[in-house]
């Protein structure tokens, strides 16, 4: 990494809080710069192909969620990006280098939270962070990192005595020790209770605030929906969908469903003209209407109800949730895969 000498001078003049502003600005200035670029990545273990040709691009400053069921190839992919495994085929570039042959200082710029790793035995939380900070030339201040992950009060406790959620936040702190540009989080909240997950989410969302690029793997839809700027879904080693949480799997374009219960004296045929054709009876007076023109349909429906003098008590309008989309995507792919392998 070559640095013009003038950068050093200016950097030296900058104040503490400016770091954050700078980081945000830097992220904002170069939103399209690819921090991770993957093309045609394959990984074979013996006869088993865990990753079957995937393309990925992660841009600076975003939280990218890599979503998929267990065994879909998530961890294999992350381990290739982290430089722990080599690809069977395809090109991988992380921060401008091939992770498999990256120079030593490349690791100064990444932080890694592994799917499974335990605390350093015998050391306190602060000592763990001091140990890891020592590995980097330009580490973050230890106490600031502890505050960021909410472990300042536990700083002098043995790391092994922390609760599961606290230990995971220590993992995040250790990954941040070197002030990396890019942080890998491999299933950071698996096995957490709801309050621990919420805390962990706050910490992860905080990473974006300080300008980090985050590559997050998870099998929780709500986690991806809550945190990610962009999502890619992997199933059986292939990317089956990608997009923002709002557009994934064309969720925004799919039909909304209007559901209601008709009064006793009315039937589907009594509904206004365009609705009566599309309405499906569900038994017990329940009716389901698929709608691409929600405003118009609701207008017609409420006019009709007012004219007949009854209230639409249990009217509900829903779109497929991210979970619905995810399940249909991953199930169809896994089913195809099973069928293929049985043939």
């Amino acid at each position: 990494m070559t640095v013009p000498p003038a950068v050093l001078t200016v950097a030296g003049m900058l104040t503490n809080s400016l770091e954050v502003a700078m980081a945000q600005r830097q992220a904002a200035n170069t939103p399209n710069e690819a921090v991770i670029a993957v093309r045609g990545l394959r990984k074979r273990y013996g006869s088993d192909e865990a990753v079957r040709g995937i393309d990925l691009e992660v841009r600076r400053g975003e939280i990218f969620a890599f979503l998929g069921p267990n065994g879909a190839g998530k961890t294999t992919t992350v381990e290739i990006l982290e430089g722990f495994r080599t690809a069977t085929a395809g090109t991988v570039e992380v921060l401008g280098a091939d992770p498999a042959n990256a120079p030593a200082h490349w690791r100064e710029r990444i932080g890694v939270v592994l799917q499974e790793s335990q605390a350093e035995p015998g050391l306190t939380v602060r000592e763990c962070l001091q140990l890891y900070s020592g590995y980097y030339r330009a580490p973050r201040p230890v106490d600031e990192t502890l505050a960021l992950v909410g472990l300042r009060e536990q700083a002098d406790q043995r790391a092994t005595s922390l609760s599961g959620g606290q230990r995971r936040r220590l993992d995040v702190a250790l990954a941040l020790a070197g002030d990396p540009e890019l942080v890998f989080l491999d299933e950071p909240t698996t096995g957490f209770d709801p309050s621990a997950r919420r805390l962990a989410w706050e910490v992860i969302a905080g990473l974006r605030e300080i300008g980090k690029t985050v590559f997050l793997t998870t099998h929780y839809m709500d986690e991806a929906e809550r945190l990610a700027d962009r999502i890619a879904v992997i199933a059986a080693g292939r990317i089956v969908a990608s997009g923002t949480p709002q557009t994934l799997g064309d969720r925004n374009l799919s039909a909304a469903r209007i559901s209601l219960t008709l009064p006793h004296d009315a039937s589907i045929r009594d509904l206004p003209e365009p609705l009566a054709e599309r309405a499906q009876g569900q038994g017990g007076g329940h009716v389901l209407i698929e709608s691409h023109t929600v405003a118009a349909d609701l207008h017609a429906l409420s006019g009709w109800a007012l004219a007949r003098g009854f209230d639409l008590d249990d009217l509900d309008v829903t779109r497929p949730t991210l979970e619905d989309v995810y399940l249909s995507l991953t199930q169809s792919e896994t089913a195809t895969e099973t069928a293929r392998s049985q043939r």
Binding site: P4, V7, A11, L18, A23, H105, S117
Partner: protein
Amino acid sequence: MILILSRLFRAWRERNAAASHDAVDAAVIPAPTSLIAGTKSHPGRRTPAGGGPLTLLAHQVRFDLLAAFRNPRARFFTIAFPIILLVILAGVFGHGTTVVDGVHVKLSHFYIPGILAMSIITSAYATLVVSIASARETGILKRRRATPVSATILIGGQALATLVTTAAMTAVLLLIGRFAYGFSVAPGALVAIACTVIVGTLSFACISYAVAGLIGSVDAAQPIVQATVMPLYFISGIWIPNENLSHTLQSIASVFPVEHLASALHLASVHSSFSAAFAPKDLLVLAIWGLAAAAIAARRFSWLPSVATA
């Protein structure tokens, strides 16, 4: 204020980017954040990684020692257990005599170098194999290797921390020997003992990495360590004088490093000049074991947990 400064900085950077003829923007951009953090966090102070390999090595040794000293099991087996065993063996059998390298010695004096050898093997092999295997299987080694720290620093740091432990235990056992059992060591012999402790500790540390590389789980570590070392303790002059053993057992023992470590320490315990107390052949065998183990470790040792997940 901050906004003005950052705007100034951006203006400066844009000008700088325009001025530098073929500098790609992307190549320059990653630098400032990390540099700013660095200059800010340690004004005028370098981090261990910034201070060169020796500073970083000292950093690693410091934390490895801290962790080892806070481990109650390691504390018992490396410090308390050898002392207890010495007191028991010397108390029960101490009045007998045996012959070491043609010299008649009291058994209480025989046990001091024997137990010293055992204590070195406990620290540099038994404890080390378990601790390496468990650090690997719990992902600790993988997490460390995800940082810029090199394998040399991690392995070297652990070997040196172990050497500090074995050197301290040598001092403790020799002092107990001196004040409780009237066992004295001449300066020349002390130098020979120091050489043996260094070569023995480093060789067993290499063997530990090889063994840890060959076993796949923490559960296997403890039984394998005991199975490899316990029989050798009986036939290598640690608990039982060599003259009480058959020639067959002695020649079996002479293949393995335990006997050579014990033998080198016994030799130094009965002679006073360095040339008589120094055991080059034993140290050579130890070193060969160490180098062979290092070669196996280089091929077989992995930093990742043995159960791979997809």
